[in-house]
């Protein structure tokens, strides 16, 4: 591409070539940079029984004798109500780590609890499951591992019909998964992936949310890329996840958020993103982004804004896949509406969630990097000025804005012509006055492209004391080469 344009002088051109190569490398790294960043928010969900929801005081720590007594009563009591109350008392006591420790050290306690979990008394089953759920909250892996005898039953119950019970089992499993690799190593051969794949077909929203939680914990395990994600990709889970993220009247935001994060973890692992693209992930995510922008415009938030972060990350990461670039992206992503949608979201982020601006800009960067079509969209939709207005917000934002502008400028003279004249030069002179090396560096990159394709820019630059702006940085190690290259071009034309 560079050879099509006449070089100013052999020496400078060579240096500039090298600098451009370095820029392209840096920007490629930036496009892929977010793959490692995973959301490390562990969510422990507690179903509050009505009496706790009303803030009533919870039972005290139980001693060994009490635990034994409650277990005995629950197992062998004659009165149904009595057995139930004993289990409820045990469950309340198990909210305390001390009681949990006492319970797991008591011989036969888990065996009794599992017996109750599989008994023919539905309410005892439910209370026993709630006891397990309390135990699953523990931050000690020993407690989680004490629950191992119950896991085959928790998984078996996932194919039952009682949606409340299934929900409880899923949250319990999710908690146990977080806490212990030993538990995960048992759950995989026990068939957790097929069990989840069957369960994801449930019509119950509560079940789907719980499933999303359990799955997201499984996907964040450190051994997930090698041991877990391959079998998940082999199952029908990805297709169902994408189905549950399809925009439309049936979209449930709570469910979609869970699975959007699950998708993010799978994509970050880079096990097989091409497969996800084959399943239509780009298309679904693109449409979801458009939907989000529409909802934001209608100022109906309805929980959709929580979807923004995972959708932005998933899209940005998938766009760096070789497959996409080879096939030129999918239809929706060449559609200029996606650019318009992003800017609508930028306005929303500015007011409500500023931390998402860099994420959105990163997506814009990945969209425009290899797409002349979308660069044209930016220009024809008059989005350069709104983009420039974001510059003063922060250094991170500045670097991303400048990188996007470089993507546009790099496409050639026709593009640079539309960037010039305009507010661009004065913005660049302002950014050159800053001290952040990255911001200044990216400004220099943009200047280089402008000087290359739009020679008139050099004159204007000189007239506005551009050389002095450059001089400030000529001793800076990381910037020296680029500063000198620009000085040469500016002085020698």
């Amino acid at each position: 591409m560079w050879s099509r344009y006449p070089r100013r002088s052999g020496l400078v051109a060579c240096g500039v070539e090298e600098l451009r190569r370095r820029r392209r490398e840096r920007e490629a790294a930036l496009r892929k940079a977010r793959r490692e960043q995973q959301l490390v928010s562990k969510r422990l969900l507690r179903e509050e029984a009505p009496e706790e929801a009303r803030g009533e005081c919870v039972a005290a720590v139980l001693g060994e004798a009490e635990v034994q007594q409650f277990l005995r009563l629950a197992q062998r009591g004659t009165e149904e109500k009595e057995r139930e109350k004993a289990l409820v008392s045990l469950r309340q006591g198990l909210q305390h780590p001390e009681t949990q420790q006492i319970f797991i050290r008591l011989e036969g306690s888990m065996r009794t609890l599992v017996g109750l979990l599989t008994s023919n008394r539905a309410l005892l089953q439910l209370e026993a499951a709630r006891c397990l759920h309390e135990l699953s909250h523990s931050e000690q892996s020993a407690v989680a591992e004490a629950c191992l005898p119950a896991t085959s039953y928790l998984l078996t119950y996932l194919s039952g019909h009682s949606s409340d019970f299934i929900e409880l089992c899923l949250y319990t499993l999710g908690n146990l998964i977080v806490e212990s690799e030993v538990v995960r190593r048992q759950l995989l051969p026990q068939g957790i992936v097929p069990a989840l794949a069957a369960c994801i077909q449930s019509p119950h929203v509560a079940v789907l949310e719980a499933l999303g939680y359990a799955l997201s914990q499984l996907l964040q395990a450190k051994e997930a890329p090698e041991k877990i994600i391959p079998s998940i990709l082999d199952s029908l889970l990805p297709q169902h996840m994408l189905r549950l993220m399809q925009p439309g009247p049936k979209l449930n935001p709570g469910v979609a958020v869970e699975f959007a994060w699950c998708l993010h973890y799978i994509i970050c692992s880079q096990v097989n993103n091409t497969l996800l693209i084959t399943h239509g992930a780009l298309s679904t995510l693109g449409m979801l982004l458009l939907d989000l922008a529409g909802a934001v415009q209608r100022t109906e938030e309805a929980g959709l804004e929580l979807l923004a972060c995972p959708v932005l990350r998933c899209l940005s990461n998938l766009l760096t896949e070789v497959a996409v670039e080879a096939m030129g992206g999918q239809m929706q992503l060449k559609d200029e509406r996606i650019v318009a949608a992003l800017f609508i979201l930028f306005q929303f982020f500015l007011q409500k969630q500023p931390s998402l601006l860099p994420e959105g800009l990163w997506l814009l960067n990945n969209l425009t990097a290899n797409s002349p079509t979308l660069c044209t969209s930016l220009l024809s939709l008059d989005l350069i000025e709104p983009l420039l207005q974001l510059l003063p917000l922060s250094n991170v934002v500045s670097v991303l804005v400048l990188t996007v502008l470089c993507n546009v400028a790099e496409k050639g003279p026709a593009y640079c012509r539309q960037l010039w004249p305009g507010p661009l030069l004065s913005c660049l002179l302002k950014t050159l006055a800053l001290s952040d090396t990255e911001v200044v560096g990216q400004s220099l990159e943009l200047l280089q492209l402008l000087f290359l394709y739009q020679p008139e820019a050099v004159q204007a630059f000189l007239q506005q004391s551009g050389l002095q702006a450059l001089e400030r940085h000529q001793e800076e190690a990381q910037l020296q080469d680029r500063v000198h290259a620009l000085q040469q071009i500016a002085l020698h034309g």
Binding site: E47, P50, A122, S152, D164, G191
Partner: protein, 188 residues
């Protein structure tokens, strides 16, 4: 005594399934009971299972004489873990597989070897692991009159499934009804 205002309280009523004597005072309790104990129950021996998958396996292995005949010639005992395609010659072999490959407990409650006695009796010829569970009674048994259990027919194939009838929906998805939506606390 703690009240539970979120549960829909109704006057006490008994489960309508023949032979079941359980009493309930809240719809959710009855819903859970029904799903767990009658949703996937064998109509021939009244054993209840947590899923249709396990019920199907039970009917095939316990009540289908054709199964027994075929089992003499080929591997008919399917692994009970959903998604696993393995089949075995005997239920013993299948149990070994589930224990060693799937890390299932050796006394998995829903993989009882077939006994010749009715549900109310605990025979001494039963598997030793089953005897250890005497204190809970046979798992998932509905309290039913043993006399009501008909013997398995020979040479006759019927459809045995006993799923939740469509007329019982427990108000799922219906906008009317007593159950209020429960809010959960989520900590992000």
């Amino acid at each position: 005594v703690a009240e539970e205002p979120e549960r829909s309280r109704v006057p006490e009523f008994t489960c309508q399934v023949a032979g079941c004597c359980q009493v309930f005072a809240a719809l959710e309790d009855y819903q859970h009971h029904y799903n767990m104990l009658h949703g996937n129950a064998c109509s021939l021996c009244s054993r209840a299972f947590p899923s249709g998958h396990l019920l199907d396996a039970h009917i095939l292995e316990w009540h289908d004489s054709l199964f027994q005949i075929l089992a003499e010639r080929q591997d008919m005992y399917q692994c009970l873990v959903e998604g696993c395609p393995e089949r075995f010659k005997t239920s013993r072999d299948r149990k070994d597989h589930m224990v060693r490959f799937h890390l299932y407990p050796a006394d998995f409650r829903f993989d009882k070897p077939k006994t010749n006695k009715g549900p109310a009796l605990r025979g001494s010829d039963a598997d030793p692991s089953a005897a250890a569970l005497v204190d809970e009674g046979d798992m998932m048994e509905v309290c039913s009159d043993p006399a009501a259990t008909p013997p398995a027919p020979t040479g006759e194939r019927r459809t045995y499934s006993h799923r939740v009838p469509s007329t019982i929906c427990f108000g799922q998805g219906a906008s009317r009804g007593f159950k209020s939506t429960q809010k959960k606390n989520k900590h992000h």
